[in-house]
């Protein structure tokens, strides 16, 4: 706390702590920054001292039709996944918010558990199952699998928002003559709008960086992160860095957009009103 009594403060301890925080952030950012740097390094196998400056890897990436196709798949999958996950997540969040029923614990477990299953296992189980029902091997399979792991995130984000909603807001709408559907359209959804947008972005970002499950189920229609895995396993090429930097910038943009939409000052102000 900034207002702490200086007599209760030890500058040495505080200084050491802050230094440690700086080191921790260095640790977190070292690999990210290094990959940026190496994405402009001319050598195929990065090592120091650095080779010359080069945008070769970006050019290689940009001229690789497979990368573009991967990007197209990723975007397609990302958009569809975010929409479906958000719809499912909204429904589940609303169910949890509004209803009580026998087996609700199980319902919630189903809705929230998938992200805790290791991706290798999820990927394996998904592939084994989807292939039995002839769904594996294309973008649809990736969409199905990603929705399974993304919808819990959407649910969490929207549930959080719903818990900020005055529980009498919806009954108030009914009481004023709105049917359940009208109240949903005119009250619940408008109230949740920032969280719905947030959920769309978060789920898109998760799908955007998921490679393990997608590797198993994507078949021929690989997404970009699966390509990256391929580059890492099959070629070791600084293209990884170029793609990584690109994906990073893209997801960051999504994140910042989400942040702006969620944290819009007048959205928070409105919230306080209820």
């Amino acid at each position: 706390m900034s207002t702490e009594n200086p007599a209760n403060r030890n500058p040495v301890v505080n200084g050491a702590l802050k230094l440690y925080v700086v080191l921790a952030y260095l640790f977190v950012f070292a690999p990210i920054l290094a990959s940026f740097v190496f994405s402009f390094n001319a050598d195929r196998f990065p090592s120091i001292p650095l080779g010359g400056f080069s945008t070769e890897w970006y050019r290689a990436v940009a001229s690789d039709p497979l990368v573009w196709e991967g990007l197209r798949n990723t975007l397609l999958v990302g958009v569809v996944v975010s929409v479906i996950s958000t719809v499912l997540g909204f429904g589940a969040a609303y169910t949890d918010y509004r209803y009580n029923f026998l087996g609700k614990q199980i319902y919630l477990a189903l809705a929230l558990l998938p992200p805790t299953i290791p991706v290798v296992i999820m990927g394996l189980a998904m592939l084994a199952f989807l292939s039995r029902v002839n769904l594996s091997g294309d973008a649809l399979a990736v969409i199905i699998a990603h929705v399974v792991i993304c919808s819990p995130f959407a649910m969490a984000v929207i549930r959080l928002r719903l818990s900020q909603m005055d529980p009498s807001l919806e009954p108030a709408a009914w009481n004023l003559g709105a049917s359940e559907w009208a109240a949903m359209r005119h009250v619940v959804i408008p109230f949740c709008r920032p969280a719905i947008l947030g959920a769309l972005f978060v789920t898109m970002a998760v799908s955007f960086d998921e490679f393990a499950i997608a590797w198993f189920v994507s078949g021929l229609n690989e997404t970009l992160p699966v390509k990256v895995l391929g580059f890492l396993q099959g070629q070791v090429s600084p293209r990884i860095n170029a793609i990584g930097s690109f994906v990073f910038v893209t997801t960051m943009t999504l994140l910042i957009l989400a942040q702006l939409l969620l944290g819009r000052p007048d959205a928070t102000k409105k919230e306080n009103a209820s």
Partner: protein, 360 residues
């Protein structure tokens, strides 16, 4: 008073699982009256209101509005608008959009509903805030928006669930008179749930006191204050001292009640001797003496154990040797003559005329 009731609850009960929130309630609400529902927390006031608004279904019994049973009508098909304690204003709509909401849901055209809403904003003196965000209003202004939002459909009845409890004291008093005046002018029946005795008593035509899902007493504020019908009501109002005991006649054959703290004379009230009952005495009607008072009044000796200072009056707390707590409320002027001190013994007295009898 012989006119048909606007609302009637006929044997209405509400259970949540095994818990009974409202027990077989019979209640008539008259056209145009201001009815207050009071009772301790959890006694079923809100549940009663919500059943009327169609937000809970009665487990048993029939609710009628203007004679017609409405049990099966969904909430949105009833004209029973409600004002919530939290107000439940729509934070994403402007003031006027809030007020228009009910009209929009009824399918009224844009121009017409805007006009109607503006008229009510005017009436509630908040027209200047029409385009503001709810968050930009003060508590009192929000209260008015909530009222306008419910009244805009010009209902026969308005339900209010502790609508003032979130306001500060001064604003509360001001809104009370706004509400009272509004009710008089519009003639709309108000059903008003409150925790506050002062609110209920100063606004309502009739007050319903509930306890554990049952109605304990219905009556005008005066009736209830002066003659609580049950021990619970006396306890709840908190303005009476209560002495549980057994009815008997005293040596002279006068009606009396034998309690733990002594035998006290009653004033013409009775029941069969030997019957259990409680004597209640308003705390403003008790006198404090340093010396034993003359006979003819009821008196008891007690040790002072506490004092509460509330500006105009002070409340003194005493305890009889038998452990009964007695409260006395006095003005500071009255007390000036006494050397009150914690732990000292005093004589407390009251006239038989101020004795009132309640049964369990």
């Amino acid at each position: 008073m012989t006119q048909d009731p606007l609302v009637s609850f006929e044997g209405v009960a509400k259970r949540f699982g095994t818990y009974t929130a409202v027990q077989k309630m019979d209640l008539d609400i008259r056209q145009g009256e201001f009815l207050a529902l009071m009772g301790s927390s959890g006694c079923g006031k809100t549940t009663t209101l919500r059943m009327l608004a169609g937000l809970e279904a009665p487990s048993e019994g029939i609710i009628r509005l203007s004679g017609k049973p409405i049990n099966d009508l969904p909430s949105w098909s009833r004209d029973t608008p409600m004002v919530w304690q939290s107000l439940a204003l729509f934070p994403f709509l402007s003031v006027i959009e809030n007020v228009e909401f009910a009209l929009k849901m009824r399918g009224m055209g844009r121009a017409e509903r805007r006009a109607r809403a503006e008229q009510w904003l005017d009436r509630m003196q908040i027209a200047e805030f029409a385009d503001r965000n709810i968050s930009q209003l003060s508590g009192g202004q929000r209260q008015r928006v909530a009222l306008a939002r419910s009244l805009v459909v010009e209902p026969q009845i308005l339900l209010l669930d502790e609508p003032l409890s979130a306001l500060d004291a001064a604003l509360k008093v001001r809104m009370q008179s706004v509400l009272k005046q509004l009710q008089r002018e519009t003639g709309i029946t108000f059903v008003y749930v409150t925790h506050s005795q002062s609110e209920a008593f100063s606004m309502a035509d009739r007050v319903v006191i509930m306890s554990r899902g049952r109605i304990e007493q219905i009556g005008t504020p005066q009736e209830i204050y002066r003659t609580p019908r049950t021990r619970f009501v006396a306890d709840f109002l908190g303005s009476s001292n209560i002495f549980p005991g057994t009815l008997q006649a005293d040596a002279q054959g006068r009606a009396a009640i034998a309690t733990d703290s002594g035998t006290f004379l009653l004033d013409g009230q009775h029941g069969a001797a030997g019957q259990a009952a409680s004597l209640t005495v308003l705390d403003t009607r008790m006198q404090v003496h340093e010396q034993r008072p003359a006979p003819g009044v009821n008196a008891v000796e007690a040790r002072m154990i506490g004092e509460e200072f509330t500006g105009a009056t002070a409340t003194l707390y005493f305890e009889t040797p038998r452990g009964q707590e007695i409260r006395v409320q006095k003005s500071h002027e009255d007390l000036a003559d006494l050397s009150v001190a914690m732990g000292r013994s005093f004589h407390l007295s009251w006239s038989p005329a101020d004795s009132h009898l309640v049964h369990e």
